[in-house]
Symmetry: C2
Subunit: 231 residues, 2 copies
Amino acid sequence: MRTHELVLQWIEKQLSDGDLALGGRLPGERAMAEQLQVSRTSVREAVRILEAMGVVRAGVGSGKDAGTVVIAEPGSALGSTLRLHVATRHLPVADIVETRVLLESWAAERAKVGVPALEEAAELLDQMDAAPDIDTFLPLDARFHVALARAAGNSVVSAMMASLRGAIENYAGELTGNLPDWDTTCARLRAEHRAILTAVNNHDGGKAAELVAAHIQGFYAEAGVGSNPTP
Amino acid sequence: MRTHELVLQWIEKQLSDGDLALGGRLPGERAMAEQLQVSRTSVREAVRILEAMGVVRAGVGSGKDAGTVVIAEPGSALGSTLRLHVATRHLPVADIVETRVLLESWAAERAKVGVPALEEAAELLDQMDAAPDIDTFLPLDARFHVALARAAGNSVVSAMMASLRGAIENYAGELTGNLPDWDTTCARLRAEHRAILTAVNNHDGGKAAELVAAHIQGFYAEAGVGSNPTP
DNA sequence: CTGTCACTGTGGTCTAACCACACAGTAATC
DNA sequence: GATTACTGTGTGGTTAGACCACAGTGACAG
């Protein structure tokens, strides 16, 4: 077993045993190296991996943001991983879109009314109405969909949704260039968002799920995913 | 931007541009370091991250297994990430099980008859009948479920299924200790597996999905997930 | 022809040093 | 006395250089 894996194991055990909790601070790299009788290099490689997994955040200097602290950001970590695999052509964009439909439909059907995530979603819709251009609109759109997924209350599904959205984020930006008329499309998307949120608030999960599926598939079909996968 | 991130960006670009394909070999660490004008340490940190993401595999020595080659194993990578986050208590096991039900039901409903993955699944069932003990049975069970998911033909769903299974693998091992009578449970699980596969082969996706959902939820309910999350 | 042995290139590890940063305490200044 | 400037300390970030184990390759001696 390689040295940095040993360090990784040790840290994972600290987490499992509860000796290291969310928000907690790891020992300094030098201290850990001495404690585990390994070089600082190996400790750093382990920390890098944890950072890539969204388990810790490393900060220089001193004070509140300094040191290596335990965080919980699975979404961005899974997103990076998926993005890399998309780059290797191993994960087709079409499969990601299909998975998005699957997860978001499920989430829409089970979204709980009155939770903070839904209020955030409603707020985002207002901001999207005021968005002047595509580059302002798209990030809000992404956040709306992730907020909707969070409303279902399953943290794994939320994380996966966020990661899927993140993995094809750049891609979505390119796709909008293929659209014949952005203003028309944008208006339609906004209307569909409202309809989805209304269905959820009316406790009509089935309809919400249908609308979400049509919403996502409609966008990618219009933008030409499948027929024109890598423009 | 940190140095190793720069290296990561460079490698990701090589992948996106197709200059580096699946099965391809990265330049040696020393060569890359010189080419990018960074230290070998930074190159190594980048490679570590890619390795953790299941994008590359590093092998010492020389010959076919040597060097750093591009692979595509998103499943194990996502699994490690999820496992770590379960360790931080940020992702409840119950949410993972729920997501498994969601993905596997979907996959069972859309499984294509006649694909290699289904044949593999059938073969695994025979091996499970011959399994002498739990420790032989469980890995086969895991592979059966992943094979079933693969039969639906969506690589993202397959990868996520494999990762979910991997994230709670150790956990499943502990749970079987809670079962009152393993032999009885095992016989039931085997029968349920057969029923699922039969439904799929009969093109009865709806029934297959129902059976899968009941199968998974039944097992975890019997083993006590939810009422006894961290024994 | 065969077995041995040095060579070469790979990743894996370690040491020791320096840097930039941010805060904390202290000293000099107004 | 209050304010400012300055070290001191500890953090991660980066680098250079060395050595190790490993696995093929090829030359050489038998």
